[in-house]
Symmetry: C2
Subunit: 325 residues, 2 copies
């Protein structure tokens, strides 16, 4: 199989795990476009939860149990802040405050989020390109039965309780795609575009909502492949199943595949869900089965390999079809 | 002796120590006007070293050996910042970063430095009024043989090495005195104004440089008393002696008294320096001797009591003089 550039779209821990598997296989030929729809400001610091999770994971600093923060976290500063009248939550650790401080300072000094992120990655010797989906603010709002909320309030303050009616990606249609994302997706050796296994509504959709993104993802003709975040009827992480149910969608891997219909060429389901393969194929999406639950570092690489092999098969089939035509 | 309002002017550790002694004696009837000429911004955080030292000390949180930071400090966040490309110095601890974060956030939200400081003190149950000398920016610049530097650069980057020619308190003549400082100095029961033992040039002078401050300090007619930061030819803290020498001033307690000539009614020298008393009295400044080196918490209270007793004697003498006239 030819080694080429791989572009992954990701958010959350699930996205970071598969990205890490891809990174082990492709190194600097991986570009990860990361959701920034959950970004928020608190105490003047610039929090980008999905960027941080990705960087901790790819740099080998993520905690074992809590991959959204560095291993061995302490909470001295946060607890001091609270004792002085600071906020009660989210309880952010001492190490975890470093990137939000540097990011806020960089942004105030008119550096772009992309530039700041790449500089941090350089310091941590992460060779993959970790790229925000946009340098312009896009904010995921959750339209619920109790009103419209920022994702941060929905998640942190209300524990994802209110019933979801819709999502709104505020600013997405005015947001520009950063140059390095455009460059990665124009790579002559683009091998695959991978939608990582994470919540479709607040991890992948915000990325796809950025103006021109779906067209750009398909521009080079490399296979676009999504990996299911749902196995059986369980969400691997987060509240995807709850949201699908409340939105009136089918709560299954097939339901996720349908979310990406028209964009993806292939969909990776869990071996456990092979019974769904035919009905997904019937809407024109190729299907591969793999072990999608990543418990060990080895699992991440294995799933990444399965995804890239699948992409290889799709490219080969397409080449054969072109020859025959 | 009547208990009344005491107003102290202070900076640095020496200033905080005497302020603590006064606080033990006067509680909420103490107002401390703190130097903000050393304030600086780094990574978008608002550092006020003298305010922080004062608050740690009065709240009982100051370290034993390093009173400018809370006891039991750790450096997790600072070290993480550095690993991500953040600054090398000053190495600020996890607890010590809390106030600069809250302060910067408050200032960005258009709260005054006074308001922010008082809110922090309330949370820490500090009953004395800790008051910045101004809510407007005043910055101490050090004019040296190697050029003019911010105090921060002179102190942190250059270790106070360059030879000092003069000091400049940039912004002082446009700075306004905050209302609570004016209120404290108008207290009908004002008992004494105390210039704490700290560097005259970058701790007390910046406060005196704020427009209208010297007049305000003397307005109620309460005795204005300074306490020497110099014993023998040693500076108790910092580099006062070095600076006095370079400025061509007499390096002694008497030299400090002369710095405040025209403003102070009385000067407290160390028992060790009693030989200087007469020559200080000869310029019209009353003198008392006390143990000015504060090694224990008890020393702080003892010195505070000596200062207030001295003020009481000056008030009584003045009352007698008025009766006789």
């Amino acid at each position: 199989m030819t080694l080429g550039t791989v572009v992954a779209l990701a958010g959350q821990v699930g996205g970071a795990k598969l990205a890490e598997g891809l990174y082990r296989l492709r190194g600097r030929d991986l570009a990860v476009v990361v959701n920034t729809g959950d970004d928020y400001e608190q105490l003047g610091l610039a929090f980008s939860p999905d960027l941080d999770t990705m960087i901790y994971t790819l740099s080998g600093n993520a905690g074992e149990a809590a991959a959204w923060e560095p291993a061995g976290e302490s909470f001295v500063l946060f607890d001091t802040l609270r004792s002085l009248g600071g906020p009660d939550r989210p309880r952010v650790g001492d190490k975890s405050l470093a990137m939000p401080i540097l990011r806020a300072d960089g942004l105030r000094n008119e550096r772009s989020l992309t530039e700041i992120t790449l500089a941090i990655c350089r310091h941590l010797r992460v060779k993959a390109r970790v790229l925000p989906m946009s340098d312009d603010a896009v904010r995921t709002h959750v339209v619920t039965e109790d009103g419209t909320l920022s994702f941060q309030d929905y998640f942190l303050q209300l524990g994802c309780e209110p019933v979801v009616r819709a999502f709104d990606y505020v600013g997405a249609q005015e947001a520009r795609i950063p140059e390095p994302v455009i460059d990665a997706l124009h790579a002559p050796d683009l091998e695959a575009v991978v939608l990582c296994p994470c919540n479709p509504y607040h991890s992948i959709r915000p990325i796809l909502a950025v103006k021109g993104m779906p067209e750009l993802l398909r521009k080079r003709g490399a296979p676009v492949i999504a990996v299911t975040p749902i196995v059986g009827s369980r969400a691997l992480r987060g509240s995807a199943a709850k949201m699908m149910r409340e939105l009136g969608h089918e709560v299954s891997a097939r339901g996720v595949a349908l979310e990406y219909r028209g964009l993806i060429d292939g969909f990776v389901i869990d071996g456990e869900d092979e019974a769904l393969a035919e009905s997904i194929r019937s809407v024109g999406i190729e299907v591969a089965a793999a072990r999608t639950v990543m418990r060990t570092p080895g699992d991440r690489v294995e799933l990444a390999r399965a995804v890239l092999d699948f992409a290889g098969r799709l490219r080969a089939a397409r080449a054969r079809a072109a020859e025959e035509a």
